[in-house]
Symmetry: C2
Subunit: 338 residues, 2 copies
DNA sequence: GACTGGCACTCAGGTCGCGCGAGTGCCAGG
DNA sequence: CCTGGCACTCGCGCGACCTGAGTGCCAGTC
């Protein structure tokens, strides 16, 4: 029921609407896309497309705009991914040059993504789960408090504050030694197992202290360790154009809720290609006017996480998809090499 | 030339305008504030206040609104700092309970501040300059790269990636040992001095490697180490009310520029009390429609940094000042204890 | 059967004019 | 120095009007 011409028309409507931000009418469509039919024919086709729910009119006697369903069809079948421009490729390389550590890579990536897509960019910090532990350390800060520090093979460093009620330097050294013996070279999952019985491996007098240390390490390695994201490009929300209260504010609120962001990106981690969620396809209701384009990234199976962008449903999907894919791949390589 | 009644009127105009967001006229002023004079008298006084530049009218035959100069006078001489409500005090304590480490304290603080002031909150991470170095570490991640890690007495942990082109484990151990000898217990400033000649203290074969390590440590301790801020409460920008492009977007852009934020907060670090910058008093031109309320915070002279809020000039200054001051003091204590 | 030209219809948005009312400035009198 | 009174200003909201883009439908043509 949707012949070739109707699909062409839908594609034209989507591209025109994305670039002009205005409902597109039959006449303009014929002119701007060299369709060899009359506006009346286009109108008939548009009526069908509307019937099927791919497009809609904001009000009678206005042009048509795509619905979420229309965008979906466009993304799935009608768009050809736009290759990145030379300038964009160059931007990627220059931007990522000279990153200092994992945190810095993430910060640069998120800014890069915001810049080339002109949307709000979100990058999840790499998950440590499959990385191995390189180093553990217990550092005394003052008489009664200290830090437990974990370093993983991806170069991420995390720490937790613990109390040192009556631990001597010798206690610390011994516990640290035992901890290093058992954890270095293991993955987070293995480490969690080994930590379960950690306290009993040290002399009873030090068991309480050892248990506190083990708890801190478990906390570091726990699933919420990955619960960090970086955000950039918030000023790009101007692109929404619509009213602040109804569209921009919900997005801002979501951006402050790490949990929400992680859920938004969540399902992109598994699949290998770019995920696109359009409008109401997002579970999170306040973002029903926004689309998410996300992708997993990471060095082979070492460290994996997700990055993506958030923008209005009226978005240049081909470019966005290409950008997200390119950045994800590049960062993956960069993490593997660096 | 500004007698008592005129000041009272200015105060009334400020408070009314802040709460109603609408220009305030002479009649409403008399009614709502029990002034024992007629509207005509108030009008005469308002004419003087306008002449002097403390208030202005958006257009003829509208009420008056305060100018930046008016707010300034209000803040300096007319406002009594509002004590925090019980709920707010409770919010502070519950919010800060159970913080994990310095980063976590900062994150909680910024959210807390955004919540009780209903503005955008900014908290600078504590500066390490006067803190002392507790621990240094060199960790091998893979054959040819590693991390240099620094831990300070405030519990902050920072790291830099370095290459390990041909350093053996023995090289690493020796350099690490020498580094620890020279740096532990020193402040950042002292450490920088000692690092200048660090490379010559190790055998020539290791000098290049030692120099790289020294450079990494210097980078960690350098002034830009403090160049990190946390931001929260961005959705509160709704309070601006005015048009997105002209007022909200500049703020969003400033919020993404760490450098700008640090300069905004900068001058509050030195003084001991809360700093208030109103509208054009900000050097940064795009923020001429916004006010900044900031304060230094920190445990004694140990670690000091700045926190504050950004909002429209039409702001409840007494509450904002009280909140910023309270949070700054509380976090200072918290950092000292924890 | 598919396409086209023509035509009547709809309706958002801009413009104009008008009246209302809040608020002002000024002045004369207490 | 304060006050009541009065004329004046002007932003804002409302309704009327017009315009133009765009539509749906229908009869005619290939």
């Amino acid at each position: 029921m949707l012949d070739d011409r109707k699909l062409t028309i839908l594609r034209a409507i989507v591209t025109d609407y994305v670039s002009s931000r205005e409902p597109v009418g039959s006449k303009a469509l014929v002119e701007r896309h060299g369709l060899n039919v009359s506006p009346a024919t286009v109108r008939n086709d548009m009526a069908v497309l509307e019937e099927e729910g791919y497009i809609t009119q904001p009000h009678t006697s206005a042009g048509r705009i795509p619905t979420d369903k229309g965008y979906r069809l466009f993304v799935d079948r009608l768009s050809t991914v736009k290759p990145l421009s030379v300038a964009e490729r160059r931007a990627i390389t220059t931007f990522m040059m000279g990153a200092l550590d994992v945190d810095d890579i993430v910060r640069r990536t998120v800014q890069l993504l915001a810049q080339i897509t002109h949307q709000v960019a979100i990058v999840q910090y790499p998950v440590v789960s499959t990385a191995t532990i390189c180093h553990v350390e217990i550092v005394r800060l003052s008489a009664d408090r200290g830090l437990v520090i974990c370093v993983t093979s991806t170069g991420s460093v995390e720490q937790r504050l613990i109390g040192l009620p009556e631990a001597s330097d010798a206690d610390i050294a011994q516990v640290r030694g035992r901890l290093a013996e058992r954890l270095i070279g293991t993955t987070a999952v293995e480490a969690a197992h080994r930590l379960a019985s950690f306290a009993v491996t040290v002399p009873p007098a030090r068991a309480v202290f050892a248990a506190a240390v083990a708890a801190a390490v478990l906390d570091i390695l726990g699933p919420d360790a990955s619960a960090r994201v970086a955000v950039a490009g918030v000023p790009n929300l101007a692109r929404f154009g619509a009213s602040y209260e109804t569209t921009v504010k919900p997005v801002l609120e979501a951006l402050e809720e790490q949990v929400v962001l992680l859920r938004l990106l969540g399902e992109a981690t598994t699949g290998d290609d770019v995920m696109v969620r359009i409008g109401h396809e997002n579970d999170y209701a306040p973002l029903r006017a926004t689309s998410v384009v996300a992708s997993g990234y990471g060095s082979d199976a070492g460290s994996r996480a997700t990055l993506g962008i958030v923008g209005p449903t009226r978005m240049d999907y081909p470019s966005a998809i290409a950008s997200v894919r390119a950045v994800a791949r590049y960062v993956g390589r960069f993490l593997a090499e660096a």
